[in-house]
Symmetry: C2
Subunit: 117 residues, 2 copies
Amino acid sequence: MFDRQRIQAQLLKGTLPLLVLATLRDGELHGYEIARRIRARSGGAFTLSEGSLYPALHRLETDGALEAAWRAGEGGPRRRYYCLTRAGHAALEQAEREWSTFASGVSQVALGSDHGG
Amino acid sequence: MFDRQRIQAQLLKGTLPLLVLATLRDGELHGYEIARRIRARSGGAFTLSEGSLYPALHRLETDGALEAAWRAGEGGPRRRYYCLTRAGHAALEQAEREWSTFASGVSQVALGSDHGG
DNA sequence: CATTCTTACCTCGCATAACGAGGTAGTGAT
DNA sequence: ATCACTACCTCGTTATGCGAGGTAAGAATG
């Protein structure tokens, strides 16, 4: 009746940019590796499909938050490495604030208490 | 470039059920009042439009989480009062767990630490 | 009665975005 | 050539928040 996967897909909406930007704070990474780190960091809770990851990366690049560069792979095809731009760092900080505000708002409503910030 | 309203609309996706169910833990309420309380509790951060609230209520009713009843209003039209069913209470608890897991997952990824649960 | 105002609820169409499935290249083994 | 593996891309489906506009009840005005 209450499909866990379906719910999480909806919850994820809007948080992917934050997750991606935050992961890239570690430095330059290619898409596949970003997905793997997000998965690892979340303790396996978030398993991004490629159908959501790559479009998200493109959006962030279009928005000017990421800069990308192709590099030759050793035992495979080329990889596309992404790194944060200056605007990307700013976007990351803003996304963190958005998330923080949002999350505390949800907690306040969900817990039925008004004492949050 | 990074539209705050647009982002929050996406973040909200999937959390509305939790917000609504949690608000109804206070007891029987009609739609308009639910919206007002969510707004008040979130410190004005969440301003639900009717276009999202009513469909969400209908979904929850269809899912069996809410039970609704029409009542005559005093100086206006009838109101539809909603209350949690037994399944609704269960759904609320589950939604709280979902949210908790999700939020801590996001925090772990966003903060770049692996020491969370 | 018709008009207008307010409250409360409903619905249609649009836009966003996560996802599954299927497709494209490069390398190496058979 | 065929298969397997890696890494990336894209299309169509699906879910859902939201703005705009519509419905219904009662009261005040003419």
